[in-house]
């Protein structure tokens, strides 16, 4: 290929790209990158727990309560429904802004229910003698579930702000998508935690 034709084909491509909208908005791309780091954070914690568990002679540690996996299953379901409602809110938002309000509020309320239920569960686990320092099970349980809860709280706060913007009519689709990426991460990370920590 001669240098000239190389140059002209490039010029044509330049013309095509001019004024073309970006594929992913800044907010969504930034949040996806953040979530990528968070995935590795949880991967680090969960694999650390798996290693400690696999190398223990006796597991679970003696004289420690069982983790309440039945109740948490209900809570897991609540979190899934919350995630599904947010998908619904995003789809409806594309058609009409008002129609997105109910599922968004539903998603926030169920998310808050999940965190409060976790808090109640922690209180009962502490009462039964599972504390941060009572065993490695307790240490990892509070570390991993606590880190997840902090992410859930941050994401709910972000969704709440998104809802306020929606009420005021300022909300942009990409802002909703940015908050949603974080919430989908919180929802998506939970089954893995439930499987590796509770079961």
């Amino acid at each position: 290929m001669s240098v000239g034709s190389y140059q002209s084909s490039r010029m044509r491509l330049v013309a095509e790209e001019r004024g073309e909208p970006r594929v992913v908005s800044n907010g969504v791309l930034g949040m996806v990158l953040f979530v990528m780091t968070e995935i590795m954070l949880f991967a680090g914690m969960i694999s650390a727990f798996s290693i400690v568990r696999a190398s223990s002679a006796i597991w679970p540690p003696p004289n420690q309560p069982r983790l309440p996996f039945e109740e948490t299953a209900i809570n897991t379901l609540a979190l899934f429904v919350s995630g599904a409602l947010l998908i619904l809110a995003q789809r409806r938002f594309a058609e009409s802004r008002r129609a997105a309000r109910a599922p968004l509020v539903g998603s926030i309320v169920l998310g808050a229910f999940f965190v409060l239920f976790q808090g109640w569960e922690w209180a009962s686990m502490l009462a039964q003698g599972l504390t941060l320092t009572s065993s490695t099970l307790g240490s990892f349980f509070y570390l991993i579930v606590g880190t997840h809860a902090l992410h859930a709280i941050a994401a709910i706060w972000l969704l709440f702000r998104t809802w306020r913007r929606l009420e005021r009519g300022w909300l942009h689709a990409s802002q909703l998508a940015t908050a949603a990426v974080l919430w989908y991460f919180v929802v998506g990370a939970w089954p893995l935690i439930y499987w590796r920590v509770y079961l």
Binding site: L13, N26, T37, G44, A48, T147
Partner: protein, 570 residues
């Protein structure tokens, strides 16, 4: 949040230009990417002086045991541990990272891709503020009860988690807190760099038109973000162990101390490439300009960098060959470690191919770039010896290892930085640096550098172990020839540190009274050289540039000038 496409952003900034910014807005809490870059650059250089001073203090102790070290006093064993630990931590986390990634990334990415600023300026400002707090914490840890943490920059437990072993109940927690905060700062910076490079490029700038240094900083940021999570998890666990009484890393109570090593090195090894890649990119920019040639095999370099990044996640356990890992695993990690030298060697060949047949001008930045290739090669080749687990079992924790990684990190963090700084100085400050002083500084840095670390290879091969406070307690390590080599290394270090005075004098003198640089003193083709020097707020107030071609169109046969700027229509 900056929910804008390229043009909208420009209008927003145009609006800002109308009001005069106060001193605080402009210099202390800036949103402008160039000012944040300067904050990172000068904080990093200040920390480099501190890290160099630490090295001076403990090297004096090794060369002249028990002496009253000028400006420090007698180095006690606790001092020695704290100095060694802080030297390593500061040089990697508070010098190499802020200068190579944060300072050059912030300065160059928007200018080289033709944007007016980062896409998230407020996150950018927050990034520096968190970084500054982390730097203050690490320095402050020297002044708390028990002193600064002394468990080496790798902070292996149980030494780092139990106060009765480390004797630094507060210092060790301050250390890990500062490191964790520093990671948060670079996480925020990395999000900015990648998003900006992907979404804010000048119209017409396609993937293959992005200057190599921008690509390298983007890839380094991705590597950083993928590797830092596990160490952040480990850091939180370590703080819990130190302060809340958990037993994540305590084998007596069901924990696992080797776990920390895995979490640390899973980050620690990619980290080498996180700082290496920006330096490689800087050297690529400098070499193309001063050999007036296109970068040899642009796409291959890019794919190689990505390949290096992927491989760098599979080599971490080569730091743990003597930690009791399964020998079969050691075999696997030996193979991956030796494999990673292939892409790095390829990059070195690309440099040599770029130089081949070029019109080479030996300016100060070019000297630094050539030195980078030369010195890094020594570091790379000695790494092959250490990557082989059979050999590493004998070499582990000797000065051979120490000299090896200084031959990698020094070219990256110091030589790479000087190459970039002297190259972009005219853009940053609008003045030319004095070339004679620059070359004097170059030779007075490079020669002592080799005289510090070449003797340490010899000492390491003779069995000199790291982390020993006073070799006179070990007769077989305190023979006269060994002590002579130690003194040679220490005296060279003092000469090298002294030579940095020339650099700072040159910077200040050139900044005050150097000849004006003009827009494009090096006749370079990339976009940053089309802005005025120094670029104003918004970079191109008259309108953002459009890109028409690749970044390295030097000596193009179809063009009358020997360079063809990216923004010039055909």
């Amino acid at each position: 949040m900056a929910e804008t496409i390229h043009v909208g952003h420009a209008e927003e900034h145009g609006h800002h230009d109308h009001h005069e910014m106060s001193f605080l807005e402009k210099y202390v809490f800036p949103l402008d990417h160039k000012m944040i870059a300067m904050q990172y650059m000068f904080t990093g250089m200040f920390m480099a002086l501190i890290g160099g001073f630490f090295a001076y203090a403990f090297r004096m102790q090794l060369a002249f045991p028990g002496m009253d070290v000028p400006f420090w006093g007698v180095v006690t064993p606790a001092d020695y541990n704290a100095l060694v630990t802080s030297h390593g931590s500061v040089m990697i986390f508070w010098v190499a990272m802020p200068v190579l990634i944060a300072a050059f990334g912030n300065y160059l990415i928007p200018l080289m891709i033709g944007a007016d600023d980062m896409v998230f300026p407020k996150i950018n400002r927050l990034s520096y503020q968190i970084f500054l707090i982390s730097a203050i914490i690490i320095i402050a840890s020297f002044f708390v009860e028990g002193g600064a943490f002394g468990g080496a920059w790798t902070a292996y437990p149980p030494l780092s988690t139990k106060a009765q072993y480390s004797l630094t109940p507060i210092g060790s927690t301050m250390w890990i807190t500062a490191v964790a905060l520093e990671f948060v700062a670079f996480l925020l910076g990395g999000i900015n760099f990648i998003t900006t490079a992907m979404n804010s490029r000048a119209p017409g700038m396609k993937m293959w038109d992005i200057p190599m240094v921008v690509w390298m900083i983007v890839i380094a940021s991705i590597l950083f973000m993928l590797s830092v999570g596990p160490l952040l998890a480990g850091g939180i666990m370590m703080i819990f162990d130190q302060q809340l009484g958990t037993a994540f890393f305590d084998p007596d109570r069901g924990g696992d101390p080797i776990l920390w090593q895995h979490l640390f090195w899973f980050f620690g090894h990619p980290e080498v490439y996180v700082v290496l890649l920006p330096a490689v990119g800087i050297v690529a920019e400098v070499m193309t300009v001063f050999s007036r040639k296109k970068l040899f095999a642009y796409k291959t370099v890019l794919y190689t960098a990505i390949g290096t990044g992927v491989l760098s996640f599979t080599v971490w356990a080569h730091h743990q060959f003597i930690a009791g890992i399964d020998p079969r695993m050691a075999n696997v990690f030996t193979v991956t470690t030796l494999l990673i030298s292939v892409p790095i060697a390829e990059m070195m060949f690309v440099y040599i191919a770029t130089l081949y047949g070029g019109k080479i001008t030996l300016t100060t930045p070019m000297l630094w770039a050539l030195a980078f290739v030369f010195e890094f090669l020594i570091g790379g080749i000695t790494g092959i010896f250490l990557g082989a687990s059979g050999n590493d079992i004998y070499m582990h924790d000797t000065y051979f290892v120490l000299a090896h990684f200084h031959y990698t990190f020094y070219p990256i963090a110091i030589i790479g930085t000087y190459a970039g700084f002297t190259f972009w100085f005219p853009k940053m400050f609008g003045k030319m640096m004095n070339d004679g002083l620059g070359k004097l500084h170059f030779w007075l840095t490079i020669i002592p550098f080799n005289l510090i670390f070449l003797p340490l290879f010899v000492l390491g091969a003779s069995g000199q172990h790291r982390r020993i406070y006073d070799y006179t307690n070990f007769p077989e390590l305190a023979q006269p020839w060994q002590q002579d080599l130690r003194q040679l290394a220490t005296i060279s270090l003092v000469v090298m540190l002294g030579a940095q005075v020339i650099f700072f004098y040159n910077v200040i003198k050139s900044w005050m009274s150097g000849p004006p640089a003009g827009k494009n003193p090096w006749n370079s083709g990339t976009l940053e050289w089309t802005a005025t020097s120094p670029p104003p707020h918004g970079n191109w107030p008259e309108g953002l540039p459009t890109c028409y071609r690749g970044p390295y169109e030097y000596s193009h046969p179809d063009h009358d000038k020997d360079y063809w700027p990216q923004n010039e229509p055909a």
